[in-house]
Structures are given as structure tokens and as C-alpha cells.
């Protein structure tokens, strides 16, 4: 089941929730809509589910225009951020709901519900009410309920947003494995980059109702289309530079850049892991002063004062490299910049 979105536009009063959004989700794909709150990702999901009508544009599932179908005719699975479980119905009846309203035979309903209870590993909880479940369990029930009528596509709105960190991490892995088993075309909304990268095949980065970039997690991270994507996906050092001849001059440092926009002044973007530190002067390196070293889960974060640039920089080192350097607060080191980017359209410069 493919999803095809063309030029979707939706305004709430003067606010443009969606502004000519187009994207494709291949059959069996798992796509993340990633963006800050207010970027329009939930609105897009609600339009696909039939809970909002677009002002303009079309959405198709397998080539069929959704405009002709009401929410209940579409047979899409939707998992709400806060689950929206039916409080007066137990786990079993929540999952059975979609089949009951379709008046399926009792035996078929029972077989399907049992199958899903096994899938979400809650077989012994069938008679519990939602109020008697933990957050993670409710989440799974909501998912099973959405899957019961074998929807054409599955839509998840911040599926892990209301859970604490550990349960979240568990469920992410579980969702990915589940998808690999059932191959259902899935779109999920998140504002969490790690979540999007870990679970999705493709990531759609959204901002202010527009699509900024679509690509695999590696693509959007390695080759961000613009400064918004670059800033949104992880930390970045932003520096003012003089530009020309395919090079950027930042203070006393000069380095080659890709993708120049022809301006003579602009901003360059450098990821913390593209900053290299050495104990001894290397070719093209400049002196830097270690302000603070902070251990993080994946390595070390080093805050540096760099007189030659006239600015502070952040540098991320993996554990191995960090231990080898043996950095302490107050050390003097040498710094070189590996990769810097300049973008043709720069939201940061415009604002």
C-alpha cells in the first residue's frame, strides 16, 4: 500500500499548518515525520486518517483519492499520542472494537483478538481496564486496537511521547521488529531525532508546515538540505565567515567548503564531531583552550575557547579518542576543522 501526498495545504485561521506538502511512502515502508511542534506533522497524519479536511491538495492510498472516503471508510490504523483508549472497555473489547462495529462473526473476532494479544504480549491482561495498565501497556493496546481490522496503513502520532525514557527505548526496538514482521506501510510522527533514526527507513523533516528534506536517516544527517535540517538534527557550531573561491575564512582559519551560495559573507555550520583535537600542532591547526570536559553516554563533550576564530566551539570525541587525549579542564590543545557547510537558503541568516 503506497501513500501519495500532493500539495496538501491546511490553514487554521491565519496559521498555515500545512503548506503544499508532497511526499511518497512506498508500500511496506516505515516513514518518520520529524519536526518541532507546530511543524504540521500531526495535521498531516490527521488528514490521512480523515479527521481533518485539507484546504487544497490530494492524498491517495494505492492510487485512490482519500477525499471521497470518510474517516470510518478509510480503514487506516491510527494510534493517538495519548492512546484514546475506551475507558469503559477492557483490553479485549478495546482491541475487538473495529471488528465489532464491522459486525464480524464472534469466532473471527476472538481469533483475531487473541492473535493480537499474543503479538503485544498481553495475553493475561485481556480483562483489565485501561486504567489498570501501565503507560507502555496502554501504548501496546492502542497499537493492537489499530491493527485489529487489518488496516491498509498504520499511522502513529508521537507513539512514545508520553512514556518514560526506558520504556520508550524498549518500545522503539519492538515497533521496528513488529514492522519487519508484518510489513505494514507505516507513518509515524515524532519530534525526537533518535527515535526517527532508530525506527524509520525514511525520514521526512518538517518545519512550519513545509517539507524541508526527505531521505534515509543517513542522508538527512550526512547531507542536510539546508540549515534548518542541520540545526534540527543534533548539535552544530554556527560561525560567521567570509566566503569566496570555494573557501571560507573564519577569523584566522581558512577551509574548503561545499555548496557555496555566492555571498561574500555568511554562516558556516560545523558538526561537533567534525572538530578534531590534537595535543601537538598539526598542519592548519590553531590553538584552543579547553573550557570544560563533560562525559556523555557516547563519549566526551569538549567546550573550547578558540582565540583564532574569536568564538567558542563544541567538539565531540568518542570514548577511545577522548581517553587517548586525556583532556582536562584548562588544557591547551590544537584544533582543526574537518568539514564545514554553507547553505544556499539560510533561515538563520534571514531571521
Amino acid at each position: 500500500m503506497t501513500i501519495e501526498v500532493r500539495g496538501l495545504t491546511k490553514h487554521f485561521g491565519a496559521f498555515a499548518a500545512l503548506d503544499h506538502v508532497s511526499l511518497d511512502v512506498p508500500g511496506g515502508g516505515l516513514v518518520a515525520l520529524l519536526g518541532p511542534s507546530g511543524s504540521g506533522k500531526t495535521t498531516l497524519l490527521r488528514i490521512l486518517a480523515g479527521l481533518e479536511r485539507p484546504d487544497a491538495g490530494t492524498a491517495r492510498i494505492d492510487g485512490v483519492d482519500l477525499a471521497s472516503q470518510s474517516a470510518r471508510q478509510r480503514n487506516v490504523g491510527l494510534v493517538f499520542q495519548h492512546y484514546a483508549l475506551f475507558r469503559h472497555l477492557d483490553v479485549y473489547e478495546n482491541i475487538a472494537f473495529a471488528l465489532r462495529v464491522r459486525r464480524r462473526p464472534r469466532a473471527e473476532v476472538d481469533a483475531r483478538v487473541r492473535e493480537l494479544l499474543a503479538l503485544i504480549q498481553l495475553e493475561t491482561f485481556e480483562r483489565r481496564l485501561p486504567a489498570q495498565l501501565s503507560g507502555g501497556q496502554r501504548q501496546r493496546v492502542a497499537l493492537a486496537r489499530a491493527l485489529a481490522a487489518r488496516p491498509r496503513v498504520l499511522l502513529l502520532d508521537e507513539p512514545f511521547g508520553a512514556l518514560d525514557a526506558q520504556v520508550r527505548a524498549e518500545l522503539r526496538g519492538w515497533l521496528r521488529r513488529l514492522h519487519d514482521e508484518i510489513h505494514l506501510t507505516t507513518v509515524f510522527v515524532t519530534h525526537d531525532q533518535d527515535e526517527a533514526f532508530e525506527v524509520a527507513d525514511r525520514v521526512v523533516v518538517m518545519n512550519r508546515g513545509r517539507v524541508e528534506q526527505i531521505g534515509s536517516p543517513a542522508e538527512v544527517f550526512e547531507q542536510p538540505a539546508n540549515d534548518f535540517v542541520m540545526r534540527f538534527l543534533g548539535h552544530v557550531n554556527v560561525l560567521d565567515a567570509e566566503l569566496g573561491d570555494g573557501r571560507a575564512r573564519i577569523g584566522e582559519v581558512t577551509l574548503a567548503i561545499g555548496g557555496h551560495n555566492g555571498d561574500t559573507r555568511g554562516r558556516v555550520y560545523i558538526r561537533p564531531h567534525d572538530v578534531e583535537l590534537t595535543r601537538t600542532p598539526a598542519d592548519g591547526a590553531v590553538a584552543a583552550h579547553v573550557v570544560r570536559v563533560t562525559p556523555l553516554s557516547g563519549g566526551l563533550k569538549v567546550d573550547l575557547a578558540v582565540p583564532a576564530i574569536g568564538s567558542r566551539l563544541r567538539c565531540d570525541l568518542d570514548w577511545k579518542r577522548g581517553t587517548a587525549l586525556g583532556l582536562r579542564d584548562g588544557d591547551d590543545v590544537f584544533l582543526s576543522l574537518h568539514r564545514a557547510r554553507v547553505f544556499a537558503t539560510d533561515h538563520g541568516a534571514a531571521s
Binding site: K10, E52, R72
Partner: protein, 292 residues
Amino acid sequence: MGAPARGARMMETRGIAAPLAAAATDEPAWVRRIVIAVAIAFVGAFVLVPLAAVFAEAFKAGLAAYGRAITDPAALSAVKLTFLAAAIAVPLNVVFGIAASWAIARFRFPGRSILTALIDLPLAVSPVIAGMVFVLLFGKQGLIGPWLTGHGIQVIFALPGIVLATTFVTFPFVARELIPVMEAQGAEEEEAAIVLGATGWQTFLRITLPKIKWGLLFGVVLCTARAMGEFGAVSVVSGHIRGRTNTLPLHVEILYNEYEYQAAFAVASLLVVLALASLVARRIIGRRVEAT
């Protein structure tokens, strides 16, 4: 709402009664119109029309007749008695309401839930029974009535009986309003005040009372409105002595039974005004209660 692609359909579902929910959770327009019409018709026929009728009947014979009816000595003495009974019953129940809600919200003791249920008891009892128990207690053949009469104390068919019956029926109102307010606010601020050296009385005046004042006022309004309007319970104990043991509601009944319809409605219109004033006060104070 922007420029909808399927404008015509949007217009149809929005119509005069724009729903709050999204399109997938709307009822068809005709359903909405019927429900709205039913609501308006029902409330109109049962509430608005009778209210209007009271004023229409009250002023039927002109302003002068209206004035005569409400300045009649018996009417004035009924006004006085009504306010007097309320002026005694309401403070009694305010003090009790504060004490009871304090005990229930701040302490855990055996029988706490029973106490909560007992406070509601007067609401469950028919007003006639509420009056009747005082007759059984203080009446001529009552348990202690003869003894009291022997000492020259008249309860039934006199002011004490009216006050007792009024206190009984308005008993729960203040406490019921204050219990949730006190429970929601917890005891931390009071504890802080005590630690800072305040006496129990200072803590109550400076910390507790300001926090519960809107809830308290709400309870007082409910209590006062009911105290002035009570009919059944007071009717049992009053003896209907014109000019002596007649409250306003009882006076309305007497006038009606004597076929003085216009006067009955005139006096009733005073009670309507009181009731509407209490409703307005409840609205205003209710908002304050929610805000705190």
C-alpha cells in the same frame, strides 16, 4: 477557516451551530437542530415560561396592587421572620461547615466516611419529615415538648421551631462546598505557618480562611437561598400563624389558599428575585472558586 476545497460541504456541516469537534465526529445538521430545539423548548416551557408567569400574574392588577400586596403588614412580618430565621441558621451552619470540613479534610479517623455521609443526610430526607422530627421531639405529645411547655418554652409553632427546621434542611450546604476545597489545598501551608510560630487561631485567620473564602462564600449563598425559600419543613413546624410564624413561602401559600392570587404572586415574585440573585451570585463566586 481558510478557503475549503469542498466549500459547499463545509458550509453545510458548520451551519448556524458550528460544532466544536472535527468533521469525523459531527452529527448531521438536522440532528443538531433537533437537539438544540428540544433543549430550548424544554427549558423554555419548564423554566422560563413559569418564571415569566409569576411576574405577569403579580402585575396583572397594576403596580399599585403589587405595592399593596408586598407592603401588607402580614407580608412585611413574613419578610422579617424569613430574614431572621436565615440570619440565625446560616451562621450556625457556617461554623459547623468549617469545623466539619476541617476535620474531614485534615484528619484520618475511624468513621470519617460515615461522618461525610451523615452530613449529606438532611438532603436525602423529605422536607416534611425534616419538620416532622421536630414536632415529634418538641410537639405537644413530643418526647420533651411537654417538659419544655411546663417551663414556658414554646418551640413548635414558634420561632425556635422554624429556626431548627431551617438549620436542619440547610445543614450540609457549607460543609459540602468546603470539604473538596480543603482537600484539594492540602495542609502544607498551615504546617509551614505553625513551624513559623503562628498559633492555631492565627493560622486559621491568616492562612486557611483566605484560601477557602470563595468556597465558603459559595456555600453561604446556597445555604442562605435555601434557608429563605424552605417551605415543607417550615410548614410543618410553623403552625401558620399569620403575622407571627409565617415566613415568605408560607405567606404565599396562605394567600393562594385564600384566593388572593394576585397578592400570592406578588409575594412570590420577591422570592423569585431572591432566587435569581442567588443564581447570579453563584455564577460569579463559582468562577472564583474554580480560579483558586
